[in-house]
C-alpha cells in the first residue's frame, strides 16, 4: 500500500454508538470496531496519510513498528475493500 495515500471515512457509512460499542454499516456490510480500530477510525483525517496513521498507532500502543505497520495496512485494506474507507491520493481534490 502506498504510504502517501490518505484513508478517510466514506460519508455514506452509518455510524452508531450503542453504549460505547461502535457499529459501522455501509450497504450490506456491518462491522463492530475494536478499541484499536475505533482509535484508528477516529484518527482518519485529510492531513494524515497511511504512514502518519501507522506512527500514531505505534505511539499509542508502544508496539513494534513492523507489526503495527502490517496490522494497520491490513485494516485499511479490509475497510477500503468493504466500502467503509476511501483512499485518496494526497493531491486529490474534489472536482470544482
Amino acid at each position: 500500500m502506498d504510504d502517501t495515500l490518505i484513508p478517510l471515512p466514506r460519508p455514506i457509512v452509518r455510524v452508531r454508538n450503542y453504549g460505547g460499542r461502535i457499529i459501522l454499516s455501509v450497504g450490506e456490510n456491518t462491522v463492530e470496531l475494536s478499541e484499536s480500530a475505533e482509535m484508528m477510525w477516529r484518527s482518519l483525517a485529510p492531513d494524515r496519510d497511511v504512514r502518519k496513521l501507522v506512527e500514531l498507532v505505534v505511539d499509542a500502543y508502544d508496539a513494534p513498528v513492523d507489526e503495527v505497520s502490517s496490522d494497520v495496512r491490513e485494516w485499511i485494506a479490509e475497510m477500503a475493500a468493504s466500502g467503509f474507507i476511501e483512499l485518496r491520493a494526497a493531491t486529490d481534490r474534489p472536482t470544482p
Binding site: R16, G19, L44
Partner: protein, 266 residues
C-alpha cells in the same frame, strides 16, 4: 404543595377565567421556550393540560396522535399580546405514550414505529417543563420520561435524517453538482448536532434552539465556536465547495461517534 414559578402564577387563573380549565386534572405544565428561559417577545406560551376526562368545547380543534384515543384537543388564545396554545391530553394518553419509549422495548426492538410527532413533542417538553398544577404527578412522570429511551429514540431519528442528507450530498457531488451539495451537507450537519444534543439530554425537535442547546451542553467534541463556524459555513468557497463539504462530512462522522444511543452511564 405545587411547585409554581412566579412567571406562570397567572396561567391557571387565566385558563379558569376563560372556562378552559377542566375541574379534575392530573397536572398542568408550561413547556417550550418560556419554560426554558429562551423565549422572545413573539414566542408562544405552550401549555399542556393532563386530565382523566376528555376535553370538549366549541372552540377546540383536534390533533391526531397514534394512541388508543387517537386525538388531543387544542385551544388557542391571546393573552396580553402573546399567543397561548393549550393542549389537552388524557392522563391515559400520556401514560400510553410513555410506554412506547421504554428502554427494554427499545433495546429489543429498536425505535417504536408508532411514536407520533405530537407524542414526541409532549414527552420531550415534559423533560424541561414547569408544573403549574399537579406537581407531584408531574415530577413522578417527568422523572420516568427523563429515565426512558426517549432521548436515544429522538437521537436515532436525527441520525437517520443525517445519513440520508449525507447520501444526497454524495450523490450530488458524484453528479458534479458540488454547489448544490452544500444544501444537504448543511442539513446533515444540523441533524448530526441535533442527534448529539439529544443523546446528551437535549432532545429538542426545533432547529431554532440548536445553538442554545450546543452552548448549554458545551460538548468537548463540538465547542460552540466550532459549531458556529460550520453552521455559518465559514470557509466555504462558492467556487470550490469540495474542501468544505469534506470537512462537514468528516465532522458529522465524528459527531456520530459521540452520539451514545445506549442507556446513560453505559
Amino acid at each position: 404543595m405545587d411547585q409554581t414559578t412566579g412567571a406562570f402564577t397567572n396561567v391557571l387563573g387565566e385558563l379558569a377565567q376563560r372556562g378552559l380549565l377542566p375541574s379534575t386534572r392530573s397536572a398542568v405544565f408550561v413547556g417550550g421556550s418560556l419554560a426554558r428561559g429562551w423565549a422572545h417577545a413573539r414566542s408562544d406560551m405552550d401549555i399542556v393540560v393532563i386530565a382523566p376526562e376528555p376535553w370538549s368545547s366549541a372552540t377546540s380543534t383536534q390533533q391526531s396522535v397514534w394512541l388508543t384515543v387517537p386525538t388531543i384537543q387544542v385551544e388557542v388564545i391571546t393573552v396580553a399580546g402573546r399567543r397561548w396554545e393549550i393542549k389537552y391530553w388524557l392522563t391515559s394518553q400520556v401514560e400510553e405514550a410513555m410506554a412506547k419509549v421504554d428502554w427494554e422495548a427499545f433495546e429489543k426492538n429498536g425505535p417504536p414505529s408508532d411514536l407520533g410527532i405530537y407524542e414526541t413533542f409532549t414527552l420531550e417538553r415534559m423533560c424541561h417543563g414547569i408544573a403549574i398544577d399537579g406537581a407531584a404527578w408531574f415530577a413522578e412522570h417527568r422523572a420516568a420520561v427523563r429515565d426512558s429511551a426517549l432521548n436515544s429514540i429522538i437521537a436515532l431519528q436525527h441520525l437517520a435524517k443525517a445519513d440520508s442528507a449525507l447520501e444526497d450530498m454524495v450523490g450530488l457531488r458524484e453528479a458534479g453538482e458540488e454547489r448544490d451539495a452544500v444544501v444537504p451537507a448543511r442539513n446533515a450537519f444540523g441533524f448530526a448536532v441535533d442527534a448529539l444534543n439529544a443523546s446528551r439530554g437535549e432532545a429538542g425537535l426545533e432547529p431554532k434552539w440548536r445553538p442554545k442547546r450546543v452552548a448549554l451542553l458545551n460538548h468537548p467534541c463540538l465547542p460552540l465556536e466550532r459549531y458556529w463556524e460550520l453552521e455559518l459555513c465559514v470557509g466555504l468557497d462558492p467556487r470550490n465547495p469540495g474542501p468544505w463539504l469534506d470537512e462537514v462530512a468528516l465532522t458529522c462522522g465524528r459527531l456520530f461517534l459521540d452520539t451514545n444511543l445506549g442507556r446513560p452511564n453505559t
